[in-house]
Symmetry: C2
Subunit: 386 residues, 2 copies
């Protein structure tokens, strides 16, 4: 085997902490196999000598026991293995080994200033607060729905929500471009309705239409939405691919806050011994891919997330992570007014609280319901400056 | 609640068979909640009377016990809920409920002629066989790798593989556009090398470069590849989003066979009580999204798939499914010459056999190794006509 491989690698590396299930011997073998599987994907004896063997193959940096039958392996990869593409970064982190049991990504560690080619959230928490002119309380979010209403009916809802003091009104993530409610008409009408309410209230409520769509179409929808007066964008990267979200976040023609919806991503976190940790899936990846806020189902909702899962998501959104801005945790999936004090205590005041369908259950006067939502939240302690 | 909703729905519906874990009472409650969760996503009392309640909300068509503590619920959805977009179709099938435990998509049932807006595989098995002029034996596939080799070194490998009689040479799915091996140079050189070998052998080996890339970039890479003489395209929809694969399959400027790689998709199938069945994930969805062949790790490989998993994938690729063409099952992940007779008996001769790194382990003469691969396969019974 003659030496082969690139002679000009930078030496910069990123690393991934994998949690491995099994005996120590098995976990060590798995760690060694990950180093090859995620890079060269050939048997050891076929790996050329030189830079490929020494730098391209993943490198086991640390290995220790974290619980009975569970081990953490920290594996580093040459920055160049991911090129300058989020698709390939995901592939190196978890592409092939998603097909193997007993391997879970616990955490991704990026270079100190992040990846030069990946900008992350453009707004982050401070940027969204500045746009809304709400410096310190939890933010209020709701959705226009259900699917099947006309654009005009949805716009009427949006108007009432904005009048009642909601900060962020998003499309339901199931509103796409169905024949009974076409994207362009819906966005035009809803943006107009929210702008009208803002003129009446003096507030800065933003409307975030769902731009999830076919390949090449999400960016076109986002550009249309911007022209129509949308104040943000909602996207489900599980449906479009993560990189479409990055594209929206980075496009200089848009410059709009990006709100991520978790549709179709749940399977990555279902099995506690495989997939991606809640920390990485809803904390770190959204930041890498440019989300300013990430929706997830809170504990105690109709979904199964535990308190630990949710704490972990909030930490992933908040912890130091390269130079990436912090993303707003946006718990939803079954909030009620009664639970707001508890949830604000749990997540802290630097949070977006999403009440969807439940907001309609408090009576027919939606403006009054929103005002009540507002009062529940405004009684809570403010975010500390800094 | 006043009646509301679209008055002109077609009445056409598609349906999904969900496997639900739990007691019968719990499973029935879950089935009822799926009907709302995947469509209107509001509590029952908020659903307007009329077409939304009667047609937009999912409809439980059948419910029966399939095993102890396991039930199958067949739920139908109005065709219009998915609009004419694969992203939204995925969302209706499994978007929000991916976040709930104990729900697994067993199978998708489409209208008799499929969806008018979704063409499926352009080539299918027959189309690929026609392109290769190989009517009836198992097809041979391998990959150029490892990551870290230069474009010239990879092209040298491709040349030897093609000389040795490989039918389909794909890029390793980890070859993207890294600085040490840029996409355009690699594709140009490899396509040229395979064309040169074809002139010498008289065969029709096709080279399928990996066009997995950032949003909007995969289609550009595919167009470049076509110009450069590529005979097919490799894509990982788990990395790009499924709809990017559909885009490649449908683009009239391309007209190239599409080979799907399963990177990052494994988490959907890991937990047998959640996610997507192997039948749907690697059998049905690839066909809906236009793959002519779908790679997956065979049983007995370094991945965990069982014989039943693999049989189910092969059935999903082969069963009647709307008017969609049949996709080639493409088992890989650890094939050896010794296992070929067994695998051909298991999958049948209408299969693409992918031997990657192992092909290098039989000795330094790669042409001879490929010829040996060819001999192992050519001794097997042919595909029956029809």
């Amino acid at each position: 085997m003659t030496p082969s491989g690139p002679k000009d690698l930078s030496g910069q590396r990123f690393s991934v902490r994998y949690h491995l299930t099994g005996t120590e011997t098995a976990a060590q073998a798995t760690a060694a196999s990950i180093c090859r599987e995620q890079t060269v994907e050939v048997p050891d004896e076929v790996i050329p000598l030189g830079p490929i063997r020494e730098q391209i193959v993943g490198r086991l940096e640390a290995f220790h026991r974290v619980a009975s039958g569970a081990f953490e392996a920290t594996i580093s990869f040459a920055a160049e293995t991911a090129g300058t593409e989020f698709t390939q970064l995901l592939n190196v982190i978890f592409g092939n080994i998603s097909l193997q049991p007993g391997i879970r990504v616990a955490r991704v560690d990026v270079p100190a200033s992040g990846f030069s080619w990946l900008k992350g959230p453009r707004f982050g928490r401070k940027g969204i607060r500045t746009r809304l002119a709400v410096p310190d309380r939890p933010l209020l979010c709701t959705a226009v729905k259900p699917m099947g209403l006309s654009a005009k009916e949805l716009a009427d809802l949006a108007y009432q929500f904005a009048l009642g003091g909601i900060d962020i009104i998003k499309d339901d993530h199931g509103l796409a471009d169905q024949p009974f409610c076409l994207f362009e008409e819906r966005v035009t009408r809803c943006a107009e309705a929210v702008a009208r309410a803002n003129r009446e209230t003096g507030r800065h409520c933003l409307y975030a239409p769902n731009v999830t769509g076919p390949a090449g179409v999400s960016i076109q929808r986002a550009l249309f939405a911007k022209q129509a007066g949308a104040g943000g964008l909602l996207i489900s990267p599980g449906l479009t691919g993560w990189d479409t979200m990055r594209q929206l976040a980075e496009d200089e023609r848009l410059v709009l806050p990006v709100i991520m919806h978790p549709a179709l991503l749940g399977s990555f976190a279902t099995d506690p011994h495989s997939g991606l940790s809640h920390y990485t899936l809803f904390g770190q990846l959204p930041r890498l891919a440019g989300a300013d806020a990430c929706i997830f189902p809170t504990y105690g909702s109709r979904f199964y997330f535990s308190r630990d899962d949710c704490r972990s998501i909030a930490e992933g959104a908040n912890d130091e992570f390269g130079a990436y801005r912090r993303t707003f945790p946006t718990p939803g999936g079954g909030l009620t007014f009664e639970r707001l004090p508890e949830l604000i205590e749990f997540y802290g005041p630097d949070v977006i609280l999403l009440i969807g369908g439940a907001l309609r259950q408090y009576g027919p006067d939606l403006v009054a319901n929103c005002q009540q939502f507002h009062r529940c939240v405004s009684r809570t302690p403010a975010v500390k400056a800094g």
